[in-house]
């Protein structure tokens, strides 16, 4: 019974991913991305990680969607050229091989017994992985600086007159 739930959700996610990639307009792709977020978030919740599920939903279906829409509004949603640089059969072949190999190698490694209870996220995050939190803070800081630097208007830097 559980397996069917997971299978449905994940099949839906893969289908939405494919539609997002072959979409003709980026806006459609963004909507499909939000759907993927929702489905994956549901799977994560069912696995027993509610906090991350909420994070994934709010960030994936909320923040990223808004960001993409904002970027599209600035840039303009031109129709995409469907021809791809790399011939499609080649891409399909390489990726197909990778997927098959990965599947064959990793599949037997799954242990079928679902383990005992888990430790709470809050404990782990703030005690064992404090370094992670600091790194995230640094990342956010640098991301903000990066965006500010990128999106600010060009200030003419050091207009040097030729020394004469």
């Amino acid at each position: 019974m559980e397996s069917i739930q997971y299978a449905v959700f994940l099949l839906g996610a893969v289908f939405c991913a494919y539609r997002a990639i072959v979409a003709k307009r980026i806006l459609s792709a963004t909507i499909y991305l939000a759907c993927i977020s929702a489905l994956v978030s549901a799977v994560i919740y069912l696995l027993g990680a509610p906090q991350v599920a909420v994070m994934e939903l709010s960030v994936g279906a909320g923040l990223v969607t808004v960001l993409l829409v904002y970027a599209l509004s600035v840039v303009g949603d031109d129709a995409l050229d469907p021809a791809s640089v790399i011939p499609k059969p080649l891409a399909f072949g390489v990726v197909g091989l990778v997927v098959v190999l990965l599947g064959l190698m990793v599949y037997p490694a799954i242990q079928t017994n679902l383990e005992k209870g888990s430790t709470a996220l809050a404990n782990v995050l703030w005690q064992n992985r404090v370094l992670d939190v600091w790194i995230q803070i640094a990342l956010i800081f640098s991301g903000v600086m990066g965006v500010l630097g990128l999106l600010s208007e060009q200030t003419s830097s050091k207009n040097k007159e030729l020394p004469q």
Binding site: L47, A49, E56, G76, D78, I86, L125, G143
Partner: protein, 103 residues
């Protein structure tokens, strides 16, 4: 070939990864690249949670997944800002046209 829930999820992760790689190879638009990267990250998050569940240490899996989500959001933000600037300078977002860094 046992189809326990965890196996299904593993297949789902690999499938999402495959679709994501295919998308990266196919797409020609810079914004679309950022979008496809998001798909790949979702696969990664799912894989991390799965690993946490398998080893019993879901707390660690969740904190790693949280870190990855934060990092990938910042990647998306900065990537989109870069895309906006590229559009301003080159006038187009078509990848073959903006690839001026030749070997």
């Amino acid at each position: 070939m046992t189809f326990t829930p965890l196996n299904i999820i593993l297949l789902g992760v690999i499938a999402l990864l495959g679709v994501g790689f295919y998308g990266l190879l196919i797409t020609r638009n810079l914004i679309k690249v950022v979008l496809v990267l998001q798909i790949l990250i979702k696969a990664v998050v799912l894989a991390l949670i799965l690993a946490g569940k398998m080893s019993g240490n879901l707390g660690l899996g969740q904190s790693s997944a949280a870190t990855v989500i934060v990092a990938d959001t910042i990647v998306a933000v900065v990537g989109l800002a870069l895309g906006v600037q590229v559009r301003r300078r080159f006038g187009t977002l078509d990848l073959p046209k903006i690839s001026t860094l030749r070997g």
